[in-house]
């Protein structure tokens, strides 16, 4: 395979994987705190739609990003209220969010279908680094949001493993009673992390509509939000693995397109199945190896009930 093609595929893997990465990082944070939010796809769509609308209306992609963050966060707030305060079933609430988000985004974005934004996120080459053979143009010739995603992965990993706040975040999902016992507000923290997760999902959607496509189409996530949910498990709730997984899935996306261009007769459908089959296989493998436990945060999905005093 010649170099240009390789670079093209790898770079496209990163671009295609970035929306998934944002959403997966968000859901990872949410689940680490002990809450499952299946509404990721809906939050992505709302972020995509509102971000696009804001960007076009105010001629500012960055404003679009801001609005998408806000929109995703607000949607997640609904889920947080239902599941943390009202202790409703997290699975069903998340599904409701996904569905509502899908409908809401279509409703809001209706007039914006087919529009082309004037400004999008252009690819920016990092001086010197982008000249490294092969890796350079792949990693360092991306748009601003991709660079943001790099930083985010590093930050989330740092936060999670090297800070006290991160320790508490991890403890929240494992044993909220232990966190409560030290006098830290379990409910408040969970609210915070669920909202952050939603905001990041919104950002992932905004990436689709503001950089990747860029345009707004109904249901443009094509289920990427669900892949992000699976990816979090596949990544064992670790940001670095989420990075690798996102680009892997992105790569399959990119590869499919390129193979078609090259006329290689692998059915694009079989190829597109790979991420999903892969997820199940990896999950099984991980569960067999670890004996079924120690993968998920122990208190994931369980509402927290303080004991009587």
């Amino acid at each position: 395979m010649n170099e240009t093609l390789l670079i093209s595929i790898l770079a496209a893997s990163i671009t295609a994987g970035t929306p998934i990465l944002f959403a997966a990082l968000g859901e990872l944070i949410t689940e680490r705190s002990g809450v499952t939010n299946l509404g990721v796809d809906g939050m992505m769509l709302v972020g995509a739609a509102t971000g696009f609308m804001a960007s076009v209306t105010f001629h500012s992609p960055w404003l679009g990003v801001g609005v998408a963050l806000l929109a995703g966060g607000i949607m997640a707030l609904i889920h947080a209220y239902l599941t943390i305060t009202l202790r409703a079933n997290q699975v069903v609430s998340g599904l409701a969010l996904a569905l509502f988000g899908s409908g809401l985004s279509s409703y809001l974005g209706k007039n914006y279908v087919g529009m082309r934004p004037e400004q999008t996120f252009e690819k920016l080459a990092v001086p010197y680094l982008s000249n490294i053979p092969i890796i350079g143009p792949v990693i360092f010739k991306q748009d601003a949001l991709v660079y943001l995603s790099y930083g985010l992965v590093v930050f989330v990993a740092f936060y999670l493993y090297k800070t006290r706040a991160g320790l508490f975040l991890r403890a929240l999902g494992e044993n909220p009673a232990a966190v409560d016992a030290v006098g830290v507000n379990v409910f408040g923290l969970r609210y915070l992390y669920v909202i952050i997760g939603g905001a990041l999902a919104g950002l992932g959607g905004a990436y689709l509509s503001l950089a990747y496509a860029p345009c707004w189409l109904e249901n443009m996530t094509a289920g990427r939000g669900w892949i992000a949910v699976a990816l979090v498990i596949f990544a064992l709730w670790d940001p670095w693995r989420a990075l690798v997984g996102s680009y892997l899935f992105g790569g399959i996306d990119a590869l499919g397109f390129h193979l078609q261009v090259l006329g290689i007769p692998v059915s694009i459908f079989i190829l597109n199945m790979m991420p999903y089959i892969f997820t199940i296989v990896v999950l099984i493998f991980v569960l067999i190896r670890r004996g079924g436990r120690l993968a998920a945060p122990q208190s994931l999905g369980l509402p927290y009930d303080r004991e009587e005093r």
Binding site: L38, S102, G103, K110, W226, V229, I270, L283, I284
Partner: protein, 358 residues
């Protein structure tokens, strides 16, 4: 005299029926605000929806057409949810059922009606059932979360159908469109006159009744109820949880597979991408709103079909049909949120009683 809100333990009429109704009304109200804020008169919107769905023969027929797959998938979802098995894979099981039914018509195109249809039903149920069973097996053997596995298998199933209709099963005379040849007449479920409503509706009523009886009276219905309510007690009582998980996932998938078969045989007449506009997902809302009661599921499926068809009609008003999805999602939200209301009741206590508590 004091008014006290306290935890109520018994499901009563209020919680079972009034609360869901309240939730539906509240969501209508909530979305009405939304419409108003974006410049549409909510009354106009709702009347357009309801008259579109129910105001004409065509509308009612379309509503029933949409209700059929929703109700069947809803029943499938309910069977699994009863045991707290979160089968999100109704969509994929639907597609696999449609696929298998199509296979029958393609492999045995000359079968007569009374053999073709049963064969399609059986194969559709089998395919959907096995698709669900696979996820159940992953759970039983390796504790793979069924939410993830069924979800992934949705996409695999949908892509599998894409693969077939874009490839080996593509109709050579179809002008390169991704669809199979039209089903022979023997493979089509009859319709009522010139309307699109088809005999699939009998499946709905028959299966709803069957499962109503199964849930209420059968030994298996009892077993699954106990497992879903208290798996520890189930194990204590000697109930085999593993085999029930497998059975429930199979039956759940089978029902959704039948829904797929019924859709291609009664409405579409061929296999093509996008035969389901998310029935599998909407069915989850339907089942949850109906509190997993088979007869209520039919009713709620009808309601949702009304919203769906009505939403379609909204396009003439310049609103996207996705408005319906929004409304359905909101309904689920309100049901989920108002579930908490069923856990509480308001009590009036005289001041003397009030002093007794510590």
């Amino acid at each position: 005299m004091k008014i006290k809100v306290q935890k109520s333990l018994a499901p009563n009429l209020t919680s079972q029926i009034l609360v869901p109704i309240f939730a539906v009304l509240a969501s209508l109200f909530f979305c009405a605000i939304f419409f108003a804020l974006t410049g549409k008169d909510p009354i106009e919107v709702y009347s357009a929806m309801f008259s579109g769905a129910l105001g004409s023969e065509y509308g009612i027929s379309e509503t029933f057409v949409k209700m059929i797959p929703l109700a069947l998938c809803g029943l499938g979802v309910a069977v699994a949810f009863r045991m707290h098995l979160w089968n999100i894979g109704a969509e994929g099981q639907f597609y696999m059922g449609a696929c298998a039914a199509t296979w029958v018509t393609l492999s045995f195109p000359t079968l007569p009606f009374f053999l073709m249809i049963p064969a399609m039903i059986i194969m559709g149920a089998l395919a959907g059932g096995l698709w669900g069973l696979l996820a159940g097996w992953f759970k039983v053997k390796w504790q793979v979360d069924e939410i993830i596995s069924t979800l992934m298998m949705n996409y695999i199933g949908i892509l599998w159908v894409d693969f077939l209709v874009y490839g080996a099963w593509r109709d050579p005379e179809g002008k390169n469109f991704p669809l199979t040849a039209a089903f022979p007449a023997a493979a089509m479920l009859p319709t009522f006159g010139s309307l699109r409503v088809h005999y699939g509706i009998f499946f709905v009523f028959i299966l709803a009744l069957i499962f109503w009886v199964v849930f209420k009276k059968s030994k298996w219905g009892y077993e699954t109820l106990v497992i879903g309510s208290n798996p520890i007690a189930a194990k204590y009582a000697g109930i085999n949880i593993r085999s029930n998980v497998l059975l429930a996932m199979f039956i759940s998938g089978a029902l959704c597979g039948i829904a797929g078969m019924v859709e291609v045989s009664g409405v579409v007449g061929k296999l093509q991408p996008g035969i389901s506009p998310g029935y599998g997902y909407t069915a989850i809302i339907v089942a949850w709103l109906a509190r997993l009661h088979p007869l209520a599921i039919v009713g709620v499926a009808f309601l949702f079909a009304v919203i769906h068809v009505g939403g379609f009609m909204l396009q003439t008003m310049g609103m996207p049909s996705a408005t319906a999805t929004m409304l359905q999602g909101a309904m689920l939200f309100f049901v989920v949120g108002s579930d908490i209301l069923t856990k509480y009741e308001i009590k009036f206590i005289s001041s003397k009683e009030g002093e007794k508590n510590e």
